[in-house]
Symmetry: D2
Subunit: 362 residues, 4 copies
């Protein structure tokens, strides 16, 4: 099976779809308010039968948004961003009965065994991941040139020397087109660059350094005084790590603020919904997402990412979403929030990233 699978559009020329009515459009009653019975999108390909245009594929989708129609084209928008009067698709059936078709089966999938009695129907830490890795290597090599690889990082990867080096290597070698994280990842990465520690613990030998609990505060303070992460890196003469690699190679990043933050660092977006909007820009372009060691950001971005992408030439390709986490709960929670197609690799982020880099750098 080629991981870049072929897409099969729905059979719109056959019943019942060829007989579907056009979708009903209702204006938004006020700014930020959807009309009654609005259609909420999934992250699957969704088609709307538009009067005068026929079945039209949304150019991208996301969970729990609405579809706004304008001159024959569709825009998938969060309800909070609606303007009064926007024409919103209404209807809650998904098989064409109201001119809406949700298409989860466009890409070929594994077939379930027909046996009545089977073992190992659930993915766990004991699931074999050799193939997942091989798929991932192939996908990343492909998407380095022909896609957009988005990394969603919790702080763990910055706490360990080898994994931090590996992430830096991946960024420097074109395997990262955008980085999404929080204030903590950036802070700990800068602390590692400046002091060789993470929250005061040596990132190589695990020693707790005296007064190490000041390190991240001093980094934040100096970065705030410098005015930007870029300026701080320069002033402090720092030349390694994740943030440095992003700045050096002009890789865009979004640092979303949270209630846990110290500081924050300059550039962190404090408003959650402004941060969503910034992340969504990358969701629209993503072809492969790797979300690692962060439940919050993984689910947040999982909600935003379509399961497909329409290329410039009109072909439809899958968007791959990998979640790397230590617990079945995190992977299940992501699935329970609607991203059932995400592939889980249950392991420590440190090993995962070192593994990846070992294979991709050759």
């Amino acid at each position: 099976m080629d991981p870049l699978m072929v897409y099969q559009p729905p059979p719109f020329d056959r019943p019942p779809l060829c007989d579907s009515p056009c979708a009903r459009l209702v204006p938004a009653p006020a700014d930020g308010i959807a009309p009654e019975l609005f259609h909420a999108t999934s992250n699957f390909p969704e088609y709307v039968n538009l009067a005068g245009y026929g079945w039209t594929l949304a150019p991208e989708s996301r969970m729990d948004a609405v579809i706004v129609v304008s001159e024959g084209s569709l825009a998938v928008t969060e309800p909070r961003r609606l303007r009064a009067g926007d024409l919103v698709v209404v209807g809650r059936s998904e098989n064409g009965e109201e001119g809406i078709f949700v298409h989860p089966d466009g890409f070929s999938r594994h077939h379930a065994s027909a046996d009545k009695f089977i073992f190992r129907s659930r993915g766990t830490r004991e699931t074999p991941f050799s193939r997942s890795y091989d798929d991932l290597y192939r996908i990343l090599r492909h998407d380095r040139e022909h896609g957009s690889i988005v990394w969603v990082l919790g702080p763990a990867v910055s706490f360990d020397k080898d994994s931090r080096n590996a992430m830096q290597g991946l960024i420097e070698n074109g395997y990262c087109h955008a980085l999404l994280a929080g204030n903590a990842l950036a802070t700990h990465d800068l602390e590692a660059a400046r002091f060789g520690t993470g929250l005061g613990q040596d990132i190589y030998n695990q020693q707790l350094v005296p007064l190490g609990h000041y390190h991240h505060l001093d980094v934040i303070s100096a970065a705030r005084a410098a005015g930007s992460i870029k300026a701080y890196l320069h002033q402090a003469g720092l030349t390694d790590g994740i943030m440095h690699a992003c700045e050096k190679h002009a890789i865009p990043y979004v640092l979303a603020g949270s209630i846990r933050d110290d500081g924050p660092l300059p550039g962190v977006i404090g408003d959650a919904y402004a941060a969503q909007d910034a992340m969504r820009q990358h969701a629209r372009r993503a072809t492969t997402v790797i979300a690692m060691a962060t439940q919050l950001h993984a689910i947040a971005f999982g909600n935003m990412v379509p399961s497909y992408r329409v290329e410039a030439d009109g072909t439809v390709r899958p968007v791959f979403f990998f979640i790397v986490d230590m617990s079945e709960f995190s992977a299940d929670k992501l699935a329970n929030r609607g991203s059932a197609q995400a592939q889980a690799i249950l392991t420590n982020a440190q090993d995962f990233i070192v593994n990846l880099w070992n294979n991709l750098q050759t």
Copy 2:
């Protein structure tokens, strides 16, 4: 041991403390920027030897903040809230060498066994919790009248009928002086009130309801149209649940926005640092905190909460912090972020809260 333990102040009248110099104060060089070598606070009682005033206890503390001095009194402030010229305590020793004394041992504690070889030195899910529960019952009965009980809730408690009822009962009977949560807890609670489901799953019998994935969106949409949670409860005629109990009994709550949010509901604070400021108001008053099934909010609030409180009459009492979670990792992470005194009860939030309510309602 009485859980409301007696506080022993440091021996300031004896060497070496009686010989400590006064603390050095340096003005903040700019808004939001601390001076070099600023002293960062812990959540333990901290004393500063002020010229002309002597050893002075900070009225409350929090992790990773600075101490601003004004006319003999101390204020513990996040660095981002500094104004240029504020006089900040400087110095990084903690035993009086620079006029700063951190006092983690003011309350009596368990004594470690002297045996060289012991079992069970670490807290896990197998640790016996009978005493923790009994302590908690006693503390909550005491603090209902004489303290401020703050609940920090992840969404889990609203997904289950019995636990949601229990939480409602605790609020209605005076066991909650403030509630801190996110958009999800409130949304799921309102969905349960309106539809009897949580993200479309019946909160009693686990059935997935047809089109249930619209429920939370419809609730959010209606609440946004209503303009406030209170107005929505009234318009929709809803009379049960956590949010209803808060509104009915005028219990203050803070709903902090996050990048995972749908909506958000009206009243959710989108800016992470404005949300921190709102939460901090409750941290200053808290005498007992129960943080349940939320790593993000537990650590965020754990950072803000002092380990002690100075009563109106000047006595110092402990602030109790319980974290209720399913994984050792969450409890360890809270400790690794500085809240080592937090007591973990490792269990499902559903059982915990039902247990609590069964015992406290009688």
Copy 3:
């Protein structure tokens, strides 16, 4: 839905089943060796079309065993217990093609939602358990008189005062017809009876007692000298706990030895396969199983327990299997080893058992 659900036998009078051939029987080639292409049983109801007798239901089943036929009746047996010449059912199809029919759908089940896009398709710690508890209360009240309730216990329940008391109460009040555990559960329970500790830690207040690491060794030593658990309880004058309740009320128990054991206590079965045989006796009678805080014993017994039981009057009822554990992994692993029908309640065994006892004792 009544938890004691009505069983629907397969439609043997209709095609294709009415046209099925008789099953093929092949003698075992040697002691402990099954013939080629032997049919391996599941824990579902299994029927064999016997020449001269027609479709015959196995009186009970288990995973990964073989069916031995003798004079028109079926016996489900572990391959290691075969005798050379035993007539074994052969064939690996399960829909009647070779005279074998596996019937997993005899009891009504929850129906999956037809929506293409749903949340919460997977069971996790956030799944609502109110109904599971209510079902369990009802089932246990029923089976106290009309069934056989088997408890499978890891040591955790004996480490905590309240939960140990609760388990004792359940046994003393008829809610336990058999107890399956290991050397550790019994040892820790006896240590609690004798010293009030578990591995040296006070089971109420968590204190580590000086020289407490000798407690379990002294208990084991004294019990071995006494010759049996019963004799030890008497000699030491112990009158509480789980083992005491079993002895007092003549509840049978199986203590299976393991490589982790100290001692072992007298009565522990050191040979794993002799222990399996002893456990299997209880599996055959079980109507409800509660496996708590033990992955090893839960999966071992899960393999042995049929999903149904044929009552004396010939009616077929379900056997309920609850697994109580803190991690999704344990529940998933049980499912991945074939016990997919087991219901998981993800919580701490301490709270679970206290909860149960609070509800059942009234």
Copy 4:
């Protein structure tokens, strides 16, 4: 710090140790029964002051055993193996008061930080493991020639193609002097050799193979008929995997039976205490232990392994014990059962072993 650390014996020539009395010896009252107040060993170096011989180091130790004295030499023995009349060391102090000295600090250790307030005092999945890996590489390279490396394996490593290959490579290249596991590891490894699956799931691409739930049963059946694993490998023409590597290179292994077993395979030791005895032989020689993805075997063997080894020339070196697991709970439980010196690497066994092999094969 060199991982092969220098041992410092206790100062027996200085008070108080030079004034210690000789240890008291009491005969065992019966077979398998220790005398009252017997001294129970830890896994630390333990010394006994023997009349006529002076302070004598036990040649190896283990948890919860007794010390038998015979002609000036010490033997550390499980109480169940005592013979009536054996002279057993009695006394429960550990600082020489009764002629017994337990010496946990013989090897230099990390020093704790003196700061009152620190982050990251607990080991979790976020602890940096780069140094742990580097230490491990160095230790394994050293011990390949000069020590005894014992692997304790749960089944997970045999479920995945890359990790199974890696383990095979380690065995074939001298990095394994003994293998301890259960029936499942061997069964799944043989299933992989024969069918390319683990419990019916392809070990490379995760597909569930039709009738795959028969694979392990057919392997077991054929191996039982063949009479030994070695004979089965030969008959079936299998030439890869973990068991094959052990047989080919004459690496001893112990397969301990359990109540979860199908079969069992020939060679599995069904009696738990006979299996303990077999494992203990390897514990006495071990210099490095890696216990991976098995709580049961890790704790069992952790109980048996001394923390030190006396070399032929009388020098004392540390025994390294690494536990590789996905959950903090397993590592904490090992520590809570007395093996506090074990180093945890919290990750998936698959990645760990692939990592190791990638580094050691070059």
